[in-house]
């Protein structure tokens, strides 16, 4: 394997490890707080799948939400910090191809997403123990979903010139799409209009497919969800690679 790609990937992982309190522990704590509050308030009132406690239903959604948000945060924040402090020059001066650049940032985003997701899952086991009927399906959706968000993070990190531009990307695109994707509910509980709208949200397919890995039940066929998520990743990866190849906002 190419040393330059491995080094860039290792640098990204080392960076996460150096500030683990902020990059790993903090999002786990946030997810546990969501779990604590929502499960306490809704446990007795909501049953989404027959025979599945609401807290157990909620756990896969929260795990996947954490995976996706942290994958995005990893690549986007690393890139904008490097751009603003100027140290991205060390990567740009090196003989690293645009696809190695892409692969290293996206893979590091997947790693952070999976580590945070595993942490949230382990912490959540204290509150409920959801079934795990198809773990490979869950892992597949977690990897594909975090790769998609990692790729979006690369685009956002390249595009944004200030931290508040990145924050708007996160607050106006990523957060609404994750919250409106069925993390806290099944789309069957929504009015018809919102159900139809949800089907245009790729995050819905990631969460629904991931949840299928736990309960063997989903709103949509997991194969269809897999096709949608894979297609979205392929499109986003193609767009990101084209952007990197053009040198947009990196090589002037």
């Amino acid at each position: 394997m190419k040393t330059s790609f491995v080094t860039l990937f290792y640098k990204e992982v080392l960076r996460v490890q150096k500030v683990a309190f902020q990059t790993l522990l903090s999002p786990i704590l946030t997810a546990v707080l969501y779990l604590l509050i929502f499960s306490h308030v809704l446990e007795q009132h909501v049953e989404v799948y027959p025979g599945v406690r609401y807290t157990a239903f909620l756990i896969p959604g929260l795990v996947m939400m954490s995976v996706l948000q942290n994958a995005f945060a990893n690549s986007s924040s690393s890139l904008i910090q490097s751009k603003i402090t100027g140290n991205l020059v060390f990567v740009l001066l090196a003989p690293i191809s645009y696809w190695e650049f892409f692969a290293a940032y996206v893979l590091a985003a997947v790693v952070r997403g999976l580590v945070v997701g595993a942490g949230v899952y382990l912490a959540a086991l204290y509150f409920a123990q959801p079934a795990m009927d198809h773990p490979l399906w869950a892992l597949l959706f977690a990897i594909l979903g975090s790769a998609l968000l990692g790729s979006m993070g690369v685009v956002a990190g390249i595009w944004a010139e200030k931290f508040d531009q990145l924050a708007s990307f996160q607050n106006f695109i990523i957060m609404p799409l994750t919250f409106l994707s069925g993390v806290f509910y099944s789309i069957h509980s929504l009015p018809a209009f919102w159900q139809d709208l949800s089907r245009f949200n790729p995050f819905f397919y990631m969460i629904d497919g991931f949840r299928y890995g736990f309960f063997g039940v989903s709103d949509i066929s997991p194969w269809f969800s897999l096709a949608v998520v894979a297609a979205c990743f392929a499109a986003m990866a193609g767009f990101t690679l084209a952007l990197l190849r053009s040198g947009y906002k990196l090589r002037f």
Binding site: K2, T3, S4, Y10, S82, F90, L92, G247, R251
Partner: protein, 298 residues
């Protein structure tokens, strides 16, 4: 044999600013070459194009025969750049920074050279210190080490001594001169013209994106023909010499002469006027004078 740096008809425009305008430049392997020019002349743009940080609108650039666009992996391996800005990654120690930089260039086990670099740049004590905790001068040394971590045959130093103390400058130049003696080509941009005069064998001067002078340092100095004479006389300067006077400094006269033979004529005129020279010193033209003349005229 390929030149270390070959720039052919390179142009680059940023909006309405023509940063480089048809630049041709050839630097042979093993040279210590100076690139001078006022702010905004295009020096950093040229370095950015050579290193791949920017892309030329037209023309070709190559490092030791490798095209910087088509063969960018090869050309970047052959080039080490010390950037002008004091940039660093705040997450890592000095040793981690140098190991990562080695890895970016495909070198897995580079600790022996990293140790040697740190030794020569007086960084050994700081090897395990986080970059954030280093002084500006120390950070500058790490930047130099990062540029040299893959032993590039061509080294580009973009104003490496801006704002650094005399001690660091001496450490750095001793090391860079050693590398140059060992065969590395050095391309230097600096605002310290005495540095360029002392170190560079050849110099190019840029102004508004064009090369306005390109010659050996000695030829450039010789082009500022003549000398300056500072002298104290037994009386007032005779009228016949008044056109040569630059200024009066206290009791001394400062005169500009077009050539050394003109000195003999001046002394004869002084004798004819019945004057005696009480004190006299000759001043050689320096690069600053040449720079101001060339850049001012162009």
């Amino acid at each position: 044999m390929f030149p270390a740096v070959d720039v052919r008809q390179v142009s680059k425009r940023y909006g309405s600013l023509q940063a480089l305008d048809g630049v041709d430049l050839r630097i042979e392997a093993g040279e210590f070459f100076g690139l001078l020019g006022p702010n905004g002349a295009g020096k950093t743009t040229l370095i950015n194009l050579l290193s791949g940080l920017a892309r030329a609108d037209s023309g070709q650039l190559s490092i030791l025969g490798r095209d910087v666009a088509a063969q960018y992996r090869d050309s970047r391996r052959l080039l080490g750049v010390v950037p002008q800005e004091l940039v660093f990654d705040p997450f890592f120690t000095v040793r981690e920074t140098l190991r990562l930089q080695s890895g970016y260039f495909g070198l897995r086990h580079n600790d022996a050279w990293i140790d040697e670099l740190m030794h020569h740049l007086d960084l050994t004590d700081k090897a395990d210190t986080n970059m954030r905790r280093l002084s500006g001068g120390m950070k500058r040394r790490v930047l130099v080490a990062q540029a040299l971590v893959h032993k590039p045959p061509v080294i580009v130093l973009d104003e490496p001594t801006a704002g650094v103390d005399v001690e660091l400058r001496q450490i750095m130049w001793r090391f860079i001169q050693r590398l140059n003696r060992e065969g590395h080509t050095v391309l230097l941009t600096t605002h310290y013209l005495e540095e360029a005069e002392a170190l560079c064998g050849r110099i190019a001067m840029l102004k508004r994106g064009r090369i306005v002078a390109l010659d050996s340092t000695q030829n450039l100095l010789n082009s500022a023909a003549g000398c300056r004479v500072r002298m104290r006389l037994s009386g007032e300067l005779p009228a016949v010499l008044a056109p040569h006077m630059i200024e009066r400094v206290g009791e001394d006269y400062l005169l500009a002469l077009s050539s050394y033979p003109a000195l003999e004529t001046m002394l004869m005129q002084l004798r004819e006027a019945g004057l005696t020279v009480l004190e006299m010193s000759l001043q050689q033209p320096d690069l600053e004078e040449v720079f101001l003349r060339v850049v001012g005229k162009a």
